[in-house]
């Protein structure tokens, strides 16, 4: 069975083809979902990829969350569908309240484009079910607003319920508690600033993102089986 992954495209998204390529290379089928679509077309998983949706005007993700497709993405996510936001996609999922907290300007006020070492903190998510806790992955970051922030109550809840998915080994952007990625209470919605699709081929310098994308395909397979 080939699982179907929907990759959301807003005006200004620019990582959709990379995600599509990486998913298809791993045996999944990836189709683009235009932001004006009102449905996720029955896909088994959704990826909101990186870029600059709607020019990042006002705030990153602020306009994108009101796109018609986001209503369907919300329904998919709330019904347990594997949903991953990468970089700008993470910002969109936070603005859409599918994930807690927000991403603000990097502490150093610089756009960062570099490899980052990430520690996997939990495997109970749609993006890490095949990884190992404590495993360190090298995955590129590429962002200006990656500085994760949330209130103290939310941080306590994230820590207590194993919802910090990744931490930076060497915090590049000032993120609270070195957080590079978080998930919802059920673990099916995950957001992270680093780009696993850019570390999915030896030619790109790292294949460390493969275990994450394979985890997503595994989660999508369980979802597909469940719904049959």
């Amino acid at each position: 069975m080939t699982v179907r992954v929907g990759v959301v495209v807003f005006p200004g998204t620019n990582c959709e083809l990379d995600v599509q390529y990486a998913i298809e290379r791993l045996g999944g089928s990836a189709e683009l979902l235009w932001h004006g679509d009102e449905a996720t077309k029955g896909v088994d998983a959704v990826v909101v990829p990186g870029g600059f949706a709607h020019g990042d005007y006002l705030r990153t993700g602020a306009i994108a969350r009101f796109s018609p497709v986001m209503h369907a993405v919300g329904e998919h996510a709330r019904s347990g569908g594997p949903t991953v936001g990468i970089c700008n996609g993470f910002q969109v999922l936070c603005e859409a309240h599918l994930l807690p907290g927000a991403l603000q300007r990097n502490a150093g006020l610089k756009f960062l484009c570099a490899d980052a070492a990430l520690r996997v903190e939990t495997t109970s998510t749609a993006l890490t079910n095949l990884a190992q806790v404590g495993e360190v992955l090298t995955i590129p970051i590429n962002h200006f607003e990656g500085n994760y922030v949330c209130d103290e109550f939310t941080l306590d809840e994230l820590r207590a319920n194993d919802r910090v998915v990744f931490r930076y080994v060497d915090n590049p952007n000032g993120s609270l508690d070195d957080i590079a990625g978080v998930c919802n209470a059920e673990g099916n919605v995950v957001g992270l600033m680093p780009h696993p699709e850019r570390a999915s081929d030896a030619l790109l310098g790292s294949e460390d993102g493969v275990v994450l994308l394979k985890s997503l395909l595994a989660a999508a397979t369980s979802r597909a089986t469940l719904l049959v």
Partner: protein
């Protein structure tokens, strides 16, 4: 219906780091302004709104702030209607 001017000021919530404000705060003493503290950088949004009275204009702009103009997770906002 009357048209009101709304002036919305969006700033970081107290306790939320403001890296741009902190950088400016460090730069000002270099120019001799050693008596400066608590620099916060935000944004201003101006708009006009047609409404039956100032109160309903204010209520509507507050709603816009909650839903779009500000992110209440990290930002505070102030609305002035004239």
């Amino acid at each position: 219906m009357p048209v009101y001017n709304a002036h919305v000021e969006v700033t970081h919530l107290p306790g939320i780091a403001d890296p741009a404000g902190a950088t400016v705060e460090r730069a000002l003493p270099a120019l001799g302004y050693t008596n400066v503290a608590q620099v916060r950088i935000g944004k201003t949004i101006r708009l006009t709104v047609e409404a039956p009275d100032a109160e309903s204009a204010r209520a509507q702009v507050h709603e816009m702030c909650e839903r779009l103009l500000a992110n209440p997770v990290i930002e505070a906002y102030e609305v002035v209607i004239t």
